[in-house]
Amino acid sequence: MLKKGKKPEDDKGTTYDKFTEQKPFTPVPRPETTAENTVIGENISIEGNIRGGEHLVIEGSMKGNVEMEKHNFTVGSKGRVEGEINAQNVKVSGQMIGNIKTQSKVQITKEADFMGDIKAKSISVEDGAYFKGSIELEKEPHRKTALAAKSTTVTTTQPVNEPKAQTAKEDAKEN
């Protein structure tokens, strides 16, 4: 049931028409919001911190920190970001200066120009990207043990003169 006074969208009442005639509607630039992403367009500059409850894509420029632990943060190919980012996943295709901390993955694509330190569970940096910084991956507690076990298995199941070792020796000549 419709509430009194609230008109359906296609209802072009006289009052409304008069209002629009007197003052033409000029949309205020604002972030484009889809069901999943908020996009900051390439002609927009932001200075200040952002705390978010939905995914965010920066195609414009931004100076400030971003806090959105449960959502994804993307610097688009035309985006320029300077600040600290804390998000679920981060993808950088544009320019970024600052540190990234994620709950899972950081992806730096080949168009990216990135300077900063990264702390994540996993990382991918495509060939062609400029990268200056450091990467610290959260290690799973049992990873070292698992690797050691794997290495032991390989050693014990392969003969001493297994082909790979031979190849290495054949390949190389010590100076």
């Binding site: 990382i123 990207a129 400029y130 990268f131 054949e170 390949d171 000549k173």
Partner: protein, 201 residues
């Protein structure tokens, strides 16, 4: 210091000799780094997806400063190389290992001097440096990254976006240039790759 060297000619390498290989140096390097639980390693590029993942999973903190791309960009713009070295602004004794790959093959003698001095300062005592260089006849005309595969196997991937000169140097010249370090192992492979594992005293 080393004798002056000339830029290499545009060698079109014979495809058959430009094969992947198992790197003894990489194996020794990792076996030593594995002894440190807090190892910090620097890679000077070029950025290679597999290598970044490989190292990041195995050391405490993996640093990357892609000097190949910086130099290449400067070269395209016709800018001097001096500014590029400012990017290597790391504190003394920062690293347990530095991966130089074949960076020295793309630097003139003066720039190699700068690089070696930087490495000597940035490495901790007993820190290691992994250096690779192509022999004259095997030297590719374009830049490739050394992609780490299982079992310390390395293969090559062309990096089309990079444009740097190539210099050929003999073993003697290279070891002279690295004389600030103790060269603990060096290998020559069938495919023309030479590897040097150096340690800071």
């Amino acid at each position: 210091m080393a004798t002056p060297t000339a830029p290499a000619h545009d060698y079109s390498h014979p495809g058959s000799s430009f094969n992947d290989y198992t790197s003894m140096t990489l194996q020794m390097y990792f076996e030593t780094l594995n002894k440190y639980s807090t190892a910090q390693v620097l890679d000077v590029g070029p950025v290679c997806e597999e290598n970044i993942t490989y190292f990041a999973q195995r050391v405490k903190r993996f640093h990357v400063c892609d000097m190949f791309l910086r130099l290449s960009r400067n070269r395209r713009k016709g800018l001097p190389t001096e500014k590029v070295w400012e990017h290597l602004d790391y504190a003394p004794n920062s690293f347990d290992g530095i991966n130089l790959w074949d960076f020295i093959d793309h630097l003139n003698d003066a720039d190699i001097g700068r690089l070696v001095n930087f490495c000597h300062t940035a490495l901790q005592p007993r820190g290691m440096m992994m250096v690779t260089s192509f022999e004259e006849l095997a030297a590719p005309s374009q830049i490739h990254s050394f992609v780490i595969k299982d079992g310390y196997r390395l293969n090559f991937r062309l990096q089309n976006h990079l444009d740097l000169p190539c210099y050929y140097r003999s073993n003697r010249i290279i070891t002279d240039m690295l004389s600030e370090f103790q060269t603990v192992k060096s290998f020559i492979y069938r495919n023309g790759v030479r590897e040097f594992l150096c340690i800071r005293d």
